[in-house]
């Protein structure tokens, strides 16, 4: 019988000796070049981390390749980052260049540090989930190919964090990203009332709807959606499989901007709607790639140093953001959920554009 509740391996057994010795006693760091960090301890000892990009959806052979590299240069010590990059941990400065060279030759991008675009946090999409309105890995790959330079170089005004979630559940918390790419449905779920009695609990389905669009008939065990109140979040489908919502023609992607998580300078902020809808256009989602690149370029050429996307927009104003990016403003940009009034312009201060 397998042991249960043993928890994960103790991280202490996973740390390279240089970390063990300097644990909690680091003094400062420097970014030696994009993707290469040096952390210096109070002891004077240095740890070098080389960060490489990853598609996150990786095969066991790919992991073994990473292991091979780590064994060759890092005594077998490595880590993954909170954005799913790979970090090779070295104590020997001389190994940096050979490692970087080998990584490049094997097609691993080295970068993601400082004022760059790091890996795109993303989710399952069509690879494994049941509620996606788009794929995850595909748009990420298509986009990273096009903004590759911003991963391997560090030439933006500040960090730009991009995330993608394939449905409104927002796994990965795209809601606080400089640029969020979000799969959305746009049509009302098609309730199959013949299945409802078997697979759905009526009260919890009703409760699942954020806008109260679902009415239930307890006697006949049926559910009805008020089309006018439904904003296609898909939450009812999560609790009731008889309410599928995917719709190949009308599902797609929305783009959100200006969120952040860190407390540096400004407080954490949610991302705000920039583009309500772009079509799903596999395999390379050109409309999405184009839209995101446009936003990055406008940001890069207008923001001041250290200014995150949201900080820049707050400074110049949303009217200016829409003018500069050429993105049309629509009634969909205006909040109409619970806290909507907090977003209304309750002042006479605004710019003409």
């Amino acid at each position: 019988m397998a042991k249960t509740d043993i928890g994960p391996p103790d991280y202490k057994t996973m740390l390279p000796p240089v970390i063990e010795r300097n644990y909690g006693k680091w003094l400062y760091h420097e970014i030696l070049k994009p993707g290469v960090l040096m952390h210096v301890g109070e002891s004077g000892e240095a740890l070098y981390s080389v960060r490489a990009g990853s598609p996150r959806l990786v095969s066991t052979d790919h992991i073994r390749e990473i292991c091979d590299i780590a064994e060759k240069y890092c005594q077998g010590f490595l880590r993954f980052t909170s954005r799913h990059n790979i970090e090779f941990l070295l104590d020997d400065e001389d190994q940096i260049e050979p490692l970087v060279a080998e990584l490049k030759s094997r097609g691993y991008p080295v970068g993601g540090t400082g004022h760059s675009i790091s890996n795109i946090v993303h989710t399952q999409g069509w690879v494994h989930c049941h509620t996606p309105a788009t794929d995850a890995s595909g748009p990420v790959k298509a986009l990273m190919d096009e903004i590759y330079e911003h991963f391997v170089e560090s030439k933006l005004p500040a960090h730009v964090r991009i995330a993608l979630a394939c449905c409104l559940n927002m796994c990965g918390a795209v809601h606080c990203s400089d640029i969020a790419i979000l799969g959305i449905h746009r049509t009302v779920p098609k309730t199959d009332n013949s299945r409802v009695p078997n697979v759905c609990e009526i009260p919890s389905t009703i409760a699942s709807c954020p806008t109260g669009a679902i009415r239930g008939d307890m006697k006949n065990k049926t559910l009805t959606v008020n089309d006018e109140k439904c904003m296609y979040c898909g939450n009812c489908y999560t609790v009731c499989p008889a309410m599928p919502i995917a719709d190949p023609e009308n599902d797609g992607i929305s783009i959100w901007v200006g969120g952040k998580v860190s407390n540096a300078r400004s407080k954490p902020m949610f991302s705000k709607l920039a583009i309500p809808f772009l079509p799903n256009n596999p395999p390379r989602w050109p409309e999405v790639v184009h839209a995101v690149k446009n936003i990055i370029e406008v940001y890069a050429s207008h923001a001041k140093k250290h200014e995150r996307m949201g900080e820049w927009i707050e400074r110049v104003g949303w009217e200016r953001f829409f003018a500069l990016t050429g993105i049309p403003f629509t009634d969909q940009h205006i909040d109409d959920f619970d806290l909507a009034t907090e977003t209304f312009r309750t002042s006479a201060q605004f710019k003409w554009r």
């Binding site: 990853s54 990786v58 540096a264």
Partner: protein, 395 residues
């Protein structure tokens, strides 16, 4: 040349960024599940729709969570992914690995699953992507033997996660890794046997840069901070002055404008500093967090479903955090007990507080109200009074 089965996905092998399609094909070469996954994904690319059915409940003995059940809606075409469940595996704090450990994981997964993984999932688990119902238990057994355990799913605690913290970062104000490991071990039961109203996530960032995005995606967010003054190395400040414009890049961007730079000396009015980290971030050699370190505890963070997304907010401005972390664990348990008692099904902690009010929450968990909990006091006059606040009525 042979016509490819996956013309659409093949397009995603091109380009400079590492391709997940290459990995899928790699796995597909030796694994029929991976092969059917690839083909089903191609169909999705063609149809612009997912081909997975609504998840079912599957698992391993003694656990109610850790596995996401998944079935193809075209088992006729893709029989090897008819069942294709994901296993969520607790990661070592900070995602540190020795290669030998990783290799063990790979071997187990080649034996039982598709050979495809996510390193890692958004919550932080090592995600083993796709196996059959029959393989779940044997796979778990092998994982357990290798020293691994499952993460959470459903209405249970999720694997806590932490920033790299003291292992590599000079700014760590708490031992995020030790705390993460400690909590993960302490709450194995809550993680594996769903008994909450809904999911519960804990994330720990050892400073306000919040490198695990704790504030945005955990019900309980622990963010390191300090009480005393920022440590200044005046010589290093002057050294930075040769490369950067300290007034513009540091002082002018300080959110509280509590720094003065006269071209030679940097003065920080620490009583006004809100420890945002910006100045330290820009001049890491010159500035360091203070020495009296601990963490702020925030609660309520979550994604939009159902009542809208929430960022966590401060409920304890400062707590010293040292093993065995009793004060913190007491608090977590009081919070979870209250949530457990009053939370409706699928109601996250933040939503419950939103529904019942902070005053009810604070009273129940025994925390004093302090101004640090709010951006600003209320603007509406709909103020409740506790009965004990009132004079006895005469009549």
């Amino acid at each position: 040349m042979e016509r490819s089965d996956t013309p659409l996905l093949d397009e995603l092998e091109k380009g400079q960024w590492p391709s997940f399609v290459k990995d899928m094909k790699e796995a597909a070469r030796k694994n029929p599940m991976a092969k059917d996954l690839l083909k089903q994904l191609e169909l999705s690319y063609k149809d612009k729709i997912g081909h997975w059915k609504h998840g079912g409940i599957v698992g391993v003995k003694g656990y109610g969570s850790g596995v996401i059940g998944r079935y193809s809606d075209r088992p006729d075409l893709f029989p090897h992914v008819q069942a294709f469940h994901t296993m969520r595996v607790n990661h070592p704090s900070g995602w540190f690995y020795k290669t030998e450990t990783l290799r063990k994981l790979c071997d187990i997964w080649d034996k039982h699953g598709s050979g495809l993984t996510n390193m890692h999932g958004s919550t932080g688990d090592a995600i083993l992507l796709g196996t059959t119902t029959e393989h779940l238990q044997p796979c778990f057994n092998d994982l357990s033997d290798a020293g691994f355990d499952l993460g959470g799913s459903g209405s249970a605690l999720r694997t806590p996660s932490a920033c790299v913290g003291p292992a590599r970062c000079e700014w760590a104000c708490v031992d995020s890794l030790d705390l993460c490991y400690h909590l993960t071990m302490a709450y194995q039961d809550q993680m594996h046997r769903p008994m909450f109203p809904y999911k519960f996530k804990i994330k720990i960032s050892a400073c306000a840069n919040d490198c695990v995005a704790a504030i945005a995606r955990s019900d309980l967010s622990i963010i390191g901070t300090w009480k005393d003054a920022i440590r200044i190395n005046a010589d290093e400040v002057r050294a930075y002055a040769e490369n950067i414009n300290i007034q513009k890049e540091v002082c002018d961007l300080c959110p509280t404008r509590c720094m003065e730079w006269d071209g030679n000396k940097l003065k920080i009015y620490d009583e006004d500093c809100t420890r945002c980290m910006h100045c330290i971030n820009v001049m890491p050699k010159a500035l360091r967090p203070g020495k009296e370190t601990g963490a702020s505890i925030l609660v309520g963070g979550k994604a939009p479903i159902v009542k809208g997304a929430l960022l966590s907010w401060v409920v304890v401005p400062f707590m010293k955090l040292e093993p065995p972390y009793d004060e913190l664990k007491d608090l977590i348990e009081r919070i979870q007990d209250w949530w457990d008692e009053f939370g409706k099904s699928r109601e996250r902690l933040g939503e419950l507080i939103q529904r019942l009010g902070m005053r009810v929450f604070l009273k129940a968990v025994g925390l004093p109200a302090v101004p640090q909990m709010v951006k600003a006091p209320r603007t509406n006059p709909y103020v409740f009074f506790w009965p004990e606040d009132l004079k006895k009525e005469e009549k």
